[in-house]
């Protein structure tokens, strides 16, 4: 048998992987160039259209106007205030949704009674567009930040519950048997087998929760707030300040991209075994 000091790359499948990796890298560079060109081209067309086609600034703001507006908002400190408000609402809500969602998912996955009593609610509410009841929540709980936190929680918690539950249930039976043969207790089975096996599902749930939570913050702020990006957006639209409205939208889009990227990083850190070999 292969002596242990021999590098594993001698292995045929590994060599294959390496070849695929090289191909992928070359291809990737070309693809990212294509994306950059596409985005720049789009921005250019947008700018030209705004300057020469749709001259009416009530309908369209050009990229340069938007950038100017963002700089202006940042200089006056308004931007920071709105981002801070929305950020608080979003992150507090997301944190509660994640912790509570994992806890409830654990209960429905591990207890029959829990599944029977909570399961129907979860299934029904997951399918309901809970965003639709945000005006009601604002009405009940006021226009402070906590009403938004609640809206974020009720929108983000369901993918967390469903994914945690599914992940815990999907644990490979053979792995559980193997652990049991070593004398693992119920707790050990959970901590050392079910939970690590469920983490990919939980992270996918967080990805969904982030998307839903972001939408929830903005929508909740539209219905009544004193600050926040959704508030900025509705204020701008009421006075037909297009550059400002677009500025808010652009900031939200960038935030969404950054958050998604962060979740991706977290996946790489928390699931090294899934990515092992990719960047070796």
């Amino acid at each position: 048998m292969a002596d242990a000091s021999k590098p594993v790359t001698a292995d045929e499948t590994q060599a294959d992987d390496a070849a695929r990796g090289r191909l992928a890298k070359g291809g990737k560079r070309r693809l990212s160039f294509a994306s950059a060109a596409s985005i720049l081209g789009g921005l250019l067309l947008w700018e030209l259209a705004g300057r020469f086609l749709v001259r009416n600034s009530l309908f369209l703001a050009t990229p340069t106007q938007i950038v100017e507006e963002i700089v202006k908002l940042a200089a006056s400190g308004e931007l920071q205030l709105h981002m801070w408000t929305s950020g608080q609402e979003f992150f507090i809500g997301l944190a509660i949704a994640i912790v509570l969602g994992i806890a409830v998912g654990f209960i429905t996955a591990s207890s029959r009674l829990g599944d029977r009593t909570l399961g129907p609610w979860v299934t029904a509410l997951y399918a309901t567009p809970t965003i639709a009841i945000s005006p009601l929540i604002i009405l009940w709980t006021g226009i402070g930040i906590w009403s938004k936190v609640i809206v974020v929680v009720i929108n983000s918690i369901f993918p967390m519950i469903i994914n945690t539950d599914a992940g815990l249930r999907a644990t490979d039976k053979h792995l559980l048997d193997a652990a049991r043969c070593f004398g693992a207790s119920r707790w050990q089975l959970f901590w050392k087998v079910s939970l690590p096996a469920a983490i990919p599902f939980v992270l996918a749930g967080i990805r969904l929760a982030v998307g839903r939570g972001l939408v929830a913050v903005v929508v909740a702020e539209l219905f009544g707030a004193r600050a926040g990006l959704g508030y900025l957006l509705i204020q701008a639209s009421e006075v037909f300040n297009m550059p400002r409205l677009f500025a808010a939208v652009v900031i939200l889009a960038v935030t969404g991209i950054v958050l998604t990227w962060l979740v991706g990083r977290a996946e790489r850190i928390l699931l090294p075994w899934r990515f092992a070999g990719d960047d070796r």
């Binding site: 048998m1 292969a2 002596d3 242990a4 000091s5 594993v8 292995d11 499948t13 590994q14 053979h174 792995l175 048997d177 193997a178 652990a179 049991r180 043969c181 070593f182 004398g183 693992a184 050990q188 050392k192 087998v193 690590p196 096996a197 983490i199 699931l271 090294p272 075994w273 092992a276 070999g277």
Partner: protein, 261 residues
């Protein structure tokens, strides 16, 4: 002398399907015992019963004379499927049993390091299972079972998922490893030549219900190399075992075919 592992009168049915009937096997200390039988004769069920994760309808299991009903560190298992934890590295997989039993210490860690060397995996400690070949994964499985230093090592068709060449190499490796510690081994397989090559005795199981047909002592010199497989005595043993289960295997294949069609 009390046997190391005593399987006494084990019977088991799943509903109306009688899987095992009155299985009694004694495995002596330092003995390598193989069980062969056609697919579906209840080998895995017997093993799960010995592991304590399946309860039998009758009978008892003893290790060193003490009855066991639950899983424990006195028995180490290597499974038919690849059961490594994908999120654990080779090293973390290997010490899993020690962790579960709260036995991670400087001493056991050093011992585990030696074990990895014994199975030829030094240098791969930080690899994840997906980065290993099938043969390497089964070595980790073996190391994981041995790490808890069990009284009896129980293996369920550990090489069945490997290709023919790797399988042959792994058989050799296993005899080499076994030769070092002479652990008591119960080895389950449906490959007859594998059983004869590895074992001191071969227990032949019949099917429907699974029961012992015959016990064949294998009197071949040790340590055994691949040359043994060309020894006329080896060929005679294989023939003999094959004759014992031939009809059962035909039946099992025919049944599978009718079920499939």
């Amino acid at each position: 002398m009390t046997p190391k592992l005593e399987v006494r009168d084990i019977s088991k049915s799943f509903g109306t399907l009688e899987v095992l009937r009155g299985i009694s096997i004694d495995v002596a200390d330092h003995e390598f015992l193989a069980i062969v039988g056609p697919s579906g004769c209840g080998k895995t069920t017997l093993l799960r019963t010995i592991a304590g994760i399946e309860t039998s309808d009758t009978g008892s299991i003893r290790v060193d004379g003490k009855q066991v009903t639950k899983p424990g560190a006195d028995r180490g298992f290597v499974f038919q499927q690849d059961c490594l934890f994908p999120w654990r590295t080779v090293w973390e997989n290997t010490i899993f049993g020690l962790e579960i039993n709260g036995k991670v210490s400087a001493e056991t860690t050093a011992r585990t390091r030696q074990l990895l060397q014994l199975v030829g995996l030094t240098g791969f400690e930080k690899y994840y299972p997906t980065q290993l070949s099938g043969g390497m994964r089964q070595r980790v499985n073996l190391a994981r079972a041995l790490a808890i230093n069990p009284e009896v090592l129980i293996m369920d068709e550990p090489f069945s998922a490997l290709d023919a060449q790797t399988r042959e190499v792994m058989q050799l490796e296993l005899t080499r490893i076994w030769q070092q510690g002479r652990k008591t081994v119960l080895f389950i397989t449906h490959q007859i030549d594998e059983a004869v090559f590895l074992a001191d005795r071969v227990v032949v199981l019949g099917r429907r219900p699974g029961r012992i047909k015959e016990v064949v002592p294998i009197d071949l010199p040790r340590p055994r190399g691949l040359a043994v497989k060309r020894d006329p005595r080896f060929v005679t043993y294989v023939d003999r075992v094959w004759n014992l289960i031939e009809n059962d295997v035909r039946d099992s294949v025919r049944e599978d075919a009718t079920v499939a069609s």
